[in-house]
């Protein structure tokens, strides 16, 4: 019996990396690591599972996203960081790979989500999305009026 529990403990011990990792990301989010164009944090400070996060991307200059603030929801499931998080725009945006009606980011269209590595992080995802905003295919896309959000 206790051997079972021993094993439980060991298995549980393996859960620690996920939480360590997310805590690290939490810290980084509060410290503003990076160039100041993306931000992230827990959606609910009491979220014990460190699952639901909010992210912000500041639209890059010289694009149609310029100076807008895009709010996102990022969900890090139990297998994170072995599997990528699910990402969803809350602020309406017109961009390749983002579902027009609900803001869901299509993991297949976003390279780092499609080829996810466990060394990637929420920050990396946000930065990548921002980078994609500057791509030729996206930067000139007409954008919805500022401040609109997806209804879900």
């Amino acid at each position: 019996m206790h051997r079972l529990l021993t094993c439980f403990w060991i298995l549980a011990g393996v859960k620690v990396p996920r939480n360590f990792r997310l805590l690290e990301e939490l810290e980084e989010g509060q410290k503003g690591v990076g160039d100041g164009t993306v931000s992230w944090g827990l959606e609910d400070d009491e979220d014990m599972t460190l699952t639901r996060w909010t992210g912000m991307i500041i639209g890059p200059a010289r694009t149609n996203y310029e100076n807008r603030i895009y709010s996102l929801k990022v969900e890090c499931g139990p297998k994170y960081p072995e599997v990528p998080p699910t990402v969803r725009f809350v602020t309406k945006i017109s961009m390749n790979g983002i579902n027009n009606s609900n803001g869901m980011v299509d993991a297949r269209s976003i390279p780092i989500l499609a080829k996810w590595q466990n060394s990637y992080s929420i920050k990396v995802v946000l930065q990548e999305l921002r980078r994609l905003m500057m791509s030729k295919e996206n930067m000139k896309l007409p954008q919805p009026p500022e401040g609109q959000t997806y209804s879900n």
Binding site: M1, H2, R3, L4, L5, T6, C7, F8, W9, I10, L11, A12, G13, V14, K15, V16, P17, N19, F20, L23, E24, L26, E27, G29, Q30, K31, G32, D35, G36, S39, W40, G41, L42, D44, D45, E46, D47, M48, T49, L50, W53, T54, G55, M56, I58, A61, E66, N67, I69, Y70, S71, L72, P78, P81, V90, P145, E146, G147, Q148, T149
Partner: protein, 494 residues
């Protein structure tokens, strides 16, 4: 907050103003994509007040400022504390160059299509609260301080501090991976993982434990195959008992002995042995393979190979009594008697059969050797010892004390720590400091710690000064530790 001038942007003046009005001044970095400024502001300021300061510094109209922290937009009515904004943290700023008002919603950010977040354009926005309505839940969430993330993660209260470190070149993931690698190459470490105070801290919270265990996909599989397991997990009483036992090594030893006794009785029942074996096979194996998968290797089989086990071991059963003994054989070895369970109790020989009291068949000597002498572990320990804050954070949780006590009672670990090949002094110091958690209110430390000082030097820590410091930091908890250590060292052949 009283202001004597709205035209003086000097930090010092601001500081004075703030200091006159409220408690602590914190320095917050405000970062735009182009720029970065450090602003001193009272800790209990509102966002609006903060924006006032920012507008001065960045020469922008307050209405143009959008502040973002940890993925949330800060509303004027919020306070910095609400969002957990503390000294040294960074807030992101977007200066909206308002040229047209967006359609829809009254509380939207003013739109801008200017050439970039430039400063000081006239504000054409109709709203006075620049916080954009972006649909994110914001505002009155309780503040999240950087060192105390979600309080449910009591065990991780410290770990967030851990997460805070840039420990040399390794971050946490690397460390963890390192540890796992070590594990794979060094099976004894497996038991050490169990003894890992971090893991232990999680153990102390049955709900958390259960959550984590259940969340593990392999466990889920296991649970499907073996409903008994989920039954066990869902039995809070059982879990609680287990946790209790985990905390109380004496109790555990006792129960171990009882169990071993019971087991040896079972053996003698015809068919009993088979039943035991069967249970073992049914349940233990899948657990082990699941654990194995986790570690990507086969530490258990190596452990099995560690033993004299030739299949005639009767004691690997699972029964319903919660009797984990993460401290394994050293405790039983250190126990005065093995109470008539000679056949099943783990022995202190170098090759130990897996038994009830020694679930992984770790022998006491290999236990010690395994853990501390493996280079990976040592480098890990070194990193940890180089960064006392880490240890401090790790162990400042209250239940950590009991864990460390148990660890301390493990004579093998104590002996390892005392071995000269280890950067012990530093480590000991830090360990003691950790135990204390900063409780340093001890009178006449020299006198008080006389005994401990002697013991320390007997163990080889000859820097009396440092020892004293460490002991001072230890406080009352240290006394407990020291009792354990004294008990141990009197038994050690040092």
């Amino acid at each position: 907050m009283a202001e004597n001038s709205g035209t003086d942007p000097a930090v010092e003046t601001n500081t004075e103003e703030n200091a006159a009005a409220s408690a602590t001044i914190i320095k917050v970095t405000v970062k735009t994509p182009k720029d970065k400024e450090e602003i001193a502001i009272a800790e209990d300021s509102s966002v609006a007040q903060f924006k006032e300061e920012i507008s001065k510094r960045f020469k922008a109209n307050q209405d143009q400022l959008v502040l973002i922290f940890a993925g949330k937009i800060l509303k004027d009515g919020d306070t910095l504390g609400q969002h957990g904004i503390k000294d040294g943290l960074t807030v992101h700023l977007v200066i909206k160059t308002a040229q047209k008002t967006s359609g829809g919603g009254s509380s939207q950010t003013s739109a801008s299509s200017g050439p970039g977040p430039s400063q000081g354009n006239t504000d054409g926005s109709a709203n006075s609260s620049p916080a954009g309505n972006l649909g994110t839940p914001q505002g009155s969430a309780p503040s999240l301080t950087p060192t105390q993330p979600p309080n449910m993660l009591a065990g991780f209260g410290d770990l967030s501090g851990l997460a805070n470190l840039g420990m040399g070149s390794a971050n946490f993931m690397e460390l963890q991976q390192q540890m796992q690698r070590q594990l794979m190459s060094n099976p004894e470490m497996l038991s050490q993982i169990m003894e890992n105070p971090l893991v232990q801290s999680m153990m102390s919270n049955p709900d958390l434990m259960r959550q984590m265990i259940v969340a593990n996909p392999q466990m889920q599989q296991l649970m499907e195959r073996n409903p008994e397991i989920s039954h066990m997990l869902n039995n809070p009483e059982l879990m609680r008992q287990t946790m209790e036992l985990a905390r109380n090594p004496a109790m555990m030893q006792e129960m171990m002995r009882n169990q071993d006794r019971a087991l040896s009785n079972l053996e003698s029942i015809p068919g009993g042995y088979n039943a035991l074996r069967r249970m073992y096979t049914d349940i233990q194996e899948p657990m082990f393979s699941a654990a194995r998968e986790q570690f990507g290797n086969n530490p258990f089989s190596a452990l099995g190979g560690n033993t004299d086990n030739s299949g005639a071991q009767p004691s690997r059963i699972e029964n319903r009594e919660p009797l984990p003994n993460p401290w394994g054989p050293p405790d039983t070895a250190a126990a005065t008697t093995t109470s008539g369970t000679a056949t099943t109790t783990s022995s202190t020989t170098s090759s130990t059969t897996p038994s009830v009291s020694n679930p992984l068949g770790i022998s006491s000597s290999s236990l010690g050797n395994g853990m501390f002498n493996s280079p990976g572990m040592q480098s890990l320990m070194q990193q940890i010892s180089e960064n006392p804050q880490l240890m401090q954070n790790m162990l400042s949780a209250p239940y950590m004390r009991t864990m460390m006590q148990s660890l301390a009672q493990n004579p093998d670990i104590a002996s390892q720590v005392a071995r000269p090949s280890f950067p012990k002094q530093q480590l000991m110091q830090q360990m003691l400091q950790m135990f204390a958690g900063g409780n340093a209110s001890t009178p006449t430390p020299e006198v008080r710690f006389q005994q401990q000082l002697e013991q320390l030097s007997a163990m080889g820590f000859i820097n009396r000064e440092a020892n004293l410091q460490a002991l001072i930091a230890t406080g009352s908890f240290g006394d407990e530790i020291w009792k354990s250590y004294s008990a141990i060292s009197s038994r050690l052949p040092l």
